[in-house]
Symmetry: none
Subunit: 198 residues, 2 copies
DNA sequence: TAGCATGGAGAACAATTGGAAAACAGACGA
DNA sequence: TCGTCTGTTTTCCAATTGTTCTCCATGCTA
């Protein structure tokens, strides 16, 4: 959503002065800084910024207000590569990928490069970039990043069994499903979207 | 569509100064910069540029206006769906997807939703979004959007044969390659990247 | 020469934007 | 309990902005 001029001004101001505010500023402080004499006017603009998702009201309902800016601006970190059976190869310096919102979720995300063909029948190929939502739990049938025995990371389809064990299913008929005790498997995230360059 | 001299002037000006405008310029600002004294006159030219598809009005219909259509800024248009054997189903109103540069090229691009499973063995699944670079030619082995007999659009791997004919290869062992005379096949773009939401 | 396309001026118009002011409700400290 | 500080809501108003309209000038061409 596009901002009007004044909305952009105010957003820019908040952005630039984010560090200068010890606490998030009150409306009165902002009015003074921005040359407004009515909190009501400011309120309209702030409301627009909230609608646009660029700013968030403080949890404490009172006194102060604050600006958050999140992955929509910075992008999500590309953490490295995941290959079935090995730990995640972390990049020394994570690279940030600016992605459009519709590929993300409201929760923190990160990106991994897929190595290998264990999910090829789900359309995930060697070299693809996957966007993962950071979560420690997942529902049946979701494709997850799982850490097995604190050692191997892998991208597989999840199946929670009735007896409490967990089965990780490779979408590759050459690779059989593997079943583990619940405590052996730690969910590190859930597959959200996929990018591929040709 | 052809532009008149002044229309071209104005378009050039907008293009060159795109970065200098913090917000999209108002008509008054443009009039001043372009040496006009009547917004009404400018309006006629802008209207012509809009008709020509070179410029777009801002969403908020007022206050500030005029956006360049540059894919880095605006995003690329989602034109509709492509299903093997049918014309492209165009969306009434193309939706614009802001994508990071590394998924695009320097040339004009557009996005299509893939229907069907004809390319499933290339990792392209039903419902995937593909980014296409607008081109009327392609090299051997590239995956292209091809229009056959001015009627059917399809996404296939291209093979130019020695005798001048063209073979379109579905990446699906259930579908045999099809060979056409060169004049039957018109290339409309080349596959650049792929997006998928889960 | 008349006709037409292009380019521009200016006035009038409606919608939106940006702002002021007043009043209100909840939180909090004295 | 009372006053104060906060965000919120509402009403009103002025300026700005895109749009539409009419009128005019110029250059080209049939």
């Amino acid at each position: 959503m596009k901002l009007t001029r004044r909305q952009q001004d105010i957003y820019d101001y908040l952005h630039e002065n984010a560090e200068r505010f010890a606490h998030p500023p009150t409306y009165d402080e902002l009015c003074q800084q921005l040359g407004l004499s009515s909190r009501g006017s400011l309120h309209k603009h702030i409301q627009a910024l909230i609608e646009a998702g660029l700013v968030e009201p403080m949890e404490g309902r009172q006194g102060i207000r604050l600006v958050e800016w999140q992955q929509a601006d910075t992008g999500i970190p590309h953490m490295g590569a995941i290959a079935a059976g090995r730990p995640i190869e972390a990049l020394a310096q994570p690279e940030f990928l600016p992605l459009p919102e519709f590929l993300l979720s409201k929760h923190p995300c990160y990106a991994l490069t897929v190595k290998g063909e264990s999910m090829i029948e789900a359309g995930i190929m060697d070299g693809d970039l996957v966007v993962i939502e950071k979560r420690d739990n997942a529902r049946n049938g979701e494709i997850v990043v799982a850490l097995i025995n604190d050692a191997e990371a892998t991208l597989k389809r999840l199946q929670n069994n009735h007896d409490g064990s967990v089965t990780l299913i490779a979408e590759n008929s050459a690779m059989p499903p593997m079943t583990y005790a619940a405590e052996q498997v730690q969910i590190q995230g859930v597959l959200l979207s996929l990018l591929r360059r040709y």
